[in-house]
Structures are given as C-alpha cells and as structure tokens.
C-alpha cells in the first residue's frame, strides 16, 4: 500500500503492533481506573448512606428530630456532604441539612432505613423481620473523584508514553541489525541492477539472514563469472567478426582494384588499339607518301630547291618516325624507349664516325612511361644529339641514364667544342623547347660546359610513371 520500502514495512510491522498494544493496554488501564474511581464513589456513597441509615435508625424509630439533626451535622462535617435528608416511613420530610457548597458535580445516593430485630436465641431463632423506618438521602460533590480522574489520565498517558519510548527503543535496538542487513542487501541489489557485478553484500546479519547474505553473494559471484565468460565470448565473436569484415573489405578493395585495373586495361587496350591504328595509318599513309615524295624527288634534277625539299621531307619523315616510335606499344617502358632511340641514333652516328658510350641502369627496365612523356623525352634527346652533330664536332658521346633518389637522371656529354653563347641560346628555339618539355615532364634541364670543352646536358624528371 503506502509503504513500499522494505525498511518502512519492517518498521510498520514492528511498531504498529507495539502502538496497538500500548493503546489497548492504556485504554484498558484507563477504563479500569475510571471504573475503580466510579466504584469508589459509589462505594463511598453507599457506605455513607449505610452509616447514615444505621445512625438514624433509632431517631427515625422514635421520631427524634434533634437526634437526626446531630446525625446530619456529624455526617456533613465528617464526609463533607452537600446535603442530607431524612424521610420517615409515611413519606414526611423530617429534616434537610445543606452545607451551602454546590460547586462541582453532585452525586446523590439514597438508602431505605429498616429496623431489624437481632437474633438472640441460639437454638430456635425467630424469623427476622425488617420493618421500614424511612429513608435517608445524601448528596456530595465528587471533586476529589474528578481530580483522581485527571490524575488517572495523566498517569495513564505517562505510562503509555514511557511504554512507547521503551518500546521504540527496544524496536530500534532489535531491528537495527536486521535493518542494516536488509539495507546492505538492498544497496547491493541496486548496484546489481546497474550491472555492477563486483558488488557484494556486507555479511552483517545473523542466523538465517547471514546465510541468505552469503547465498546472495554466491549468486552474485556466479553472475559475475557468467558475465565475464559471456563478455569474453562476445569479444571473441566481435574480433572474429571484425576480422571477417576486414577480410571482406580487403577483398572488396582488391576486387575493386581488379575491376579498376580491368577497366584501365580495357581502356589501355582500346587506347593502344586506337594508337596502333593511328600509327599504322600514319606509317602507311603519311609515311608512304613522304617516302614516295622522296623517291619522286630523287628522280628530279639536282637543285637547291630539290635539296631543301629533300631535307624537309627527310626531317618530316624522321619526325613522323619519332612520333610513331613514341606511340609504339613496345616503348611504354623507359629502357625499351631508350634502346630504340639508341638504335636509330647509332645509324646516324656511324657514317659520321662518332663513338657512342651508352649505359642505362637496370631501374629503367621497370619504369613505365606514358606516350606523351616518351614523346617529350625523345624530342629532348633528339634535339640534344642533333645539336651535338650540328655544332660540337665531337667524336664521342657519353650517355648515362639511372635513378637518383626519387628522380630519374639522364646525362649526355660530348667531347666537342661547346661555346655557350647566351644570346644565341636565348634566341634559339631548340634549347628553350627542351627546357619547356623538361618542365612538362615535371623535371629540369641543365646545360653546362665541361672541363674538356665539351657540353654536358643533364635531364632530371620524376621516376614515378
């Protein structure tokens, strides 16, 4: 009902019977005392009327009013009566005496007065005859009884309060240990409700309650162990799941990469096929026409115009070959591109009797290059060798290619005569184009004169494809 807490219920269970008992006992004592006081008042009244009847018996018998007056005065003085009244057997009022005190609750008593002959014969006693003589009425205030009642209220109340205090003290003393034990259980239960399996009940009870606390602790320990095992299993399952997810992710990533690679491959294949078609068209179309034009030109008479046209057609044919070469599928690796360039350049150097010292590091074998990169690189190399052939008069060319840290470095030296005319170099388009292409490669180009008088060209570009 209104008491939901165990402690409150325990308190009510112990205190309510106590209060009820004290109330019942107090009421019982109070009623008993009040009855006793009332019976004392009645007893006093009866006693006084009996005494008055005895004392007034002879005066009533003889009708002696003076004697009745003496009796009345004596009784009023002795018992503090409010009034006393004597009536004879005929109902005639013989005497009324008042003391004038009418304060308080008036209690009235009346008793008939009889005359009874004494029994004086041991053997044949005559039947006793009670002859009525009259009656006596008295009245007195029960102030003392009221005081006794008030005193009884105070005493009973005091006794009840003392009993209540003692009872509460005993209840407190006897229930404290029980209360503490139950409180400990409740506190632990609340912690347990919050999943705190480390909580333990303080074993502060006694007897069966202590056994219950121990059992409760054992249950908690069992729960804690079960929880740990469960947590361990969950962790293992989670780790396994994470691993599976990770593997799945890796597989997905690999699959995506494969897919991208497949797409790239397909795209590359398509590009390569298109490039091959363009190369074949350029080779078969433009190249054929250039070769046919040169053949037709060979049959013409020699002239300056013919020479110029022949040179331009030859240069165009070489340029076309360079473009085709750069677009060739086989030359997407730097080593292959350089090897093809060496082959072509060697055919030009041999008639001129120029020795080529060619060395390419193995890193070039694994360095892939794009066709555009290859084209820029081939034009730079072609321009460099053309300049050497045209202007240096060198008899030896030294070529080195290798990886240096993050960059790839190509170094070309000749043993000719290099006259770095800054004005001419700045006006010419060749070196400017070479530097421009080097920048497009993401690298740089330096030209310097070496101590032997020749020229050194150093090209660096990122080794990443």
């Amino acid at each position: 009902m209104f008491a939901t807490k165990l402690k409150t219920q325990l308190l009510l269970i112990t205190i309510l019977p106590l209060l009820l008992t004290i109330a019942v006992v107090s009421l019982f004592i109070l009623f008993d005392v009040l009855d006793s006081i009332e019976s004392e008042v009645i007893k006093r009244g009866d006693s006084i009327t009996d005494q008055a009847a005895v004392m007034a018996e002879f005066p009533l018998y003889t009708g002696d009013v003076d004697a009745l007056q003496e009796v009345a005065d004596l009784l009023i003085k002795t018992h503090d009566l409010n009034y006393i009244r004597f009536v004879d057997v005929s109902g005639q009022l013989l005497l009324t005496e008042n003391n004038g005190n009418d304060k308080g609750r008036l209690r009235e008593f009346s008793s008939p007065v009889f005359s009874q002959a004494p029994d004086l014969d041991d053997f044949s006693a005559p039947a006793a005859v009670r002859a009525p003589l009259g009656s006596v009425d008295i009245g007195f205030t029960d102030n003392s009884a009221e005081a006794q009642r008030f005193s009884a209220y105070i005493k009973v109340l005091s006794i009840a309060l003392v009993a209540l205090a003692l009872g509460l003290l005993l209840v407190y003393l006897f229930s404290r240990r029980l209360n503490e034990a139950i409180s400990s259980l409740m506190t632990t239960a609340e912690r347990l409700e919050q999943k705190d399996f480390t909580a333990r009940v303080e074993e502060n009870g006694s007897g069966e309650l202590r056994n219950f606390q121990r059992t409760f602790n054992d249950v908690i320990a069992s729960l804690e162990q079960n929880d740990a095992e469960l947590q361990q299993k969950i962790n293992a399952a989670t780790a396994s799941l994470n691993e599976s997810v990770e593997q799945l992710s890796e597989k997905n990533q690999a699959l995506a990469q494969q897919r991208q690679e497949t797409i790239d491959l397909e795209r590359s294949k398509a590009i390569l096929e298109e490039r091959e078609r363009i190369m074949r068209d350029m080779h078969d179309g433009i190249g054929g026409q250039l070769v046919a034009s040169l053949a037709m030109l060979e049959r013409e008479q020699d002239s300056a115009v013919k020479e110029n046209i022949h040179a331009m057609l030859t240069e165009s044919l070489n340029d076309l070959r360079l473009i085709i070469h750069s677009l060739s599928m086989q030359n997407n690796v730097l080593a292959s591109l350089l090897a093809d360039f060496k082959y072509r350049t060697s055919r030009r150097l041999e008639p001129l009797d120029i020795e080529l010292d060619w060395l390419v590091a193995p890193e070039a074998d694994s360095l892939s290059i794009k066709p555009q990169t290859g084209l820029h690189l081939l034009r730079i190399l072609q321009e460099a060798f053309t300049n050497i052939l045209k202007h240096s008069g060198a008899g030896e060319i030294r070529f080195r290619a290798g990886q240096q840290q993050e960059d790839f470095l190509i170094e070309i030296e000749d043993n000719g005569e290099f006259h770095p005319d800054t004005e001419a170099m700045s006006r010419g388009l060749g070196i400017r184009n070479m530097k421009s292409r080097a920048e497009k490669l993401g690298g740089s180009l330096n030209i310097e004169k070496i101590s032997s008088g020749g020229c050194r060209l150093i090209l660096t570009f990122p080794a990443t494809p």
Partner: protein, 299 residues
C-alpha cells in the same frame, strides 16, 4: 440438607425395629437446629460400645405412635416437651434444648430437663466480675411483670456487697427501652435474662442500642448476644447440651431404665466476650475471661 436429614430420619424410623427400652427422640420442628440437635445426640450415643436403640421422630408423626412403657422419651424444643409432658406421664422423660420460661409443669414421675439457659446467678457473677471495682458498679436487670419464674430467680440471687443491683419490672404497656433509659445513666452493666417481652424483636434491639449509647456493657444469655452487641455472653453451647442429654440417656440405659439425675440440669458453662465492644466501651475485661478459651468454659 434439611430435607435430606428429614428423609434420613424418617427412613430410620420406618426401618428400625421398635421394642421396649428404646429411646425416642421427638423433635418440635424440622428446622436445621432441631435436626442438628438430634444428630449431635445420636452421634454422642454412637460413641458408646452398646448404644441404646434410638428413633427420631417429628412431633406430628410421634403423636400417632404408642411408645412402650419402658421407653425413654427425649424431647427437643418447646412444643415436643409440652406435648410429651402432658401426654405420657408414665414414661421417663428427658427434656432438652428448652429454657425456663418454656418449661411446663412436669406431669411425669421421672423427668429431667437439660436447659438452654445458665442459672441467673451465673450471669450475675460474670457481671460482677466486670463491674467490680469500677465507679459505676450498679447492675441492672429488666424483667417483665408477668415473668414470675425469672422474678423468682431474681429474688433468690446472691448479691455481693461490692455491687448494687437494680431490678426494673416492666409493666405490660410500658416501653422497655424508655424505662431502662433512666436506669442506664449510672449503670455498670445490664444483665439480659430470657424474657421474650423484653429481649426479643425490636425491643431487644433498642435495649442494646440504649445500653451502647450509655456505654453500659450487656451480659447476654446466648452466644448470639455477642453478635447483637453484648460484651459478654454466659451460655451453654448446643453441642454441650447434646452432650449432657446423651450422658443422661446413657445413664438411663445403664440404670435399668431410670434416670440417674432428675429435675433441671445445666450443661457445661461457656463464657465468650466481644473484643470490639470492649474496645469501643473502653472496658477492661477481667483476666479470668481473657486468659484463654479454656478458662471461659466452666464445668
């Protein structure tokens, strides 16, 4: 209880064999006191080795019964005594539980009477013991005018010189309580004697009241007087009366049907006193009365 005893005695009467030399106890009434008296007498007789055959009858059934000539008729109470004394003059008769006023003029040749009362002289002696040496040494006796037997006893009293005796003769119309009022003024004790005109009913009550009012102790003639307010009672107890009666019957049996004692017989004397009255009247009792109960019993 009374009915049971009556039935018991009636059955005893019917079943008992009746023969010459028997004892017939005749009860004046079937009251408790009469039945108890018969029972006490029989109990005394049964203590003998050869008790006489005893029958107990109420007066009325006894009137239709004819006892043998050698039977002893034992009466209990006044009515039976009066009837037996008048009707069976040839039989030996033993009266018991009777007082002087009720004792008829005996007609039988052999008779004896065990009295309820003690001699008046005994009461006077006890009263003398009380007043002797006191300032108020007057003894007062009230007797009705018509009570000749008592007046005769009064005339025969031996009065010591240390006391004064005032006898008040109450006339028929006079109120005893008022008459005695004047005499009690300087009295030392009031002696009550068995006189139904004075010491019965309301009169006795106011006699006692008057004496108490004047602080005059009363010497009564029965144990009941103590309860009524007397200081001292000089009497014969009922058991002693039964004992004396039984002794007379045994004597009759042993004396071949003749009474060993005849005339008026007094049982053993008992004297009791009321301590509360003595304290209220502030009267020191003589040591002979207060020494112990045994001293209050005189053979």
């Amino acid at each position: 209880m009374t009915r049971l005893l009556a039935v018991f005695f009636l059955l005893l009467t019917v079943l008992s064999p009746v023969h010459a030399g028997s004892v017939h106890i005749v009860l004046s009434a079937d009251s408790d006191s009469h039945l108890q008296a018969a029972s006490d007498i029989k109990a005394e007789l049964e203590q003998q080795d050869a008790p006489p055959p005893v029958t107990v009858r109420l007066l009325k059934p006894f009137q239709s019964f004819q006892p043998a000539a050698d039977d002893l008729l034992v009466t209990v109470g006044e009515a039976a005594t009066r009837y037996v004394s008048q009707s069976y003059s040839e039989h030996s008769q033993l009266y018991s539980y009777i007082n002087h006023m009720a004792l008829p003029e005996p007609q039988a040749k052999h008779w004896a009477s065990v009295m309820l009362d003690q001699p008046l002289q005994t009461l006077l002696d006890s009263a003398v013991d009380i007043v002797e040496g006191r300032y108020h040494n007057k003894l007062v006796i009230a007797v009705s005018e018509e009570n000749q037997s008592m007046r005769l006893q009064i005339d025969q009293l031996t009065i010591p010189d240390s006391v004064e005796l005032e006898v008040l003769v109450i006339e028929a119309e006079a109120e005893p309580a008022k008459i005695i009022d004047q005499a009690l003024f300087n009295a030392g004790a009031l002696i009550a004697l068995r006189d139904s005109r004075i010491w019965s009913g309301e009169t006795a009550k106011w006699m006692l009241y008057q004496s108490y009012k004047y602080n005059v102790p009363v010497v009564g003639y029965s144990q009941s007087f103590l309860k009524a307010g007397a200081l001292v009672s000089v009497y014969a107890s009922l058991r002693d009366i039964a004992h004396t009666t039984a002794q007379q019957i045994i004597g009759w049996q042993n004396n071949q049907g003749r009474l060993t004692q005849e005339g008026i017989l007094y049982p053993r004397l008992s004297i009791d006193y009321n301590k509360n009255i003595a304290r209220a009247l502030n009267i020191p009792l003589p040591e002979s009365m207060t020494a112990g109960e045994q001293n209050n019993v005189r053979d």
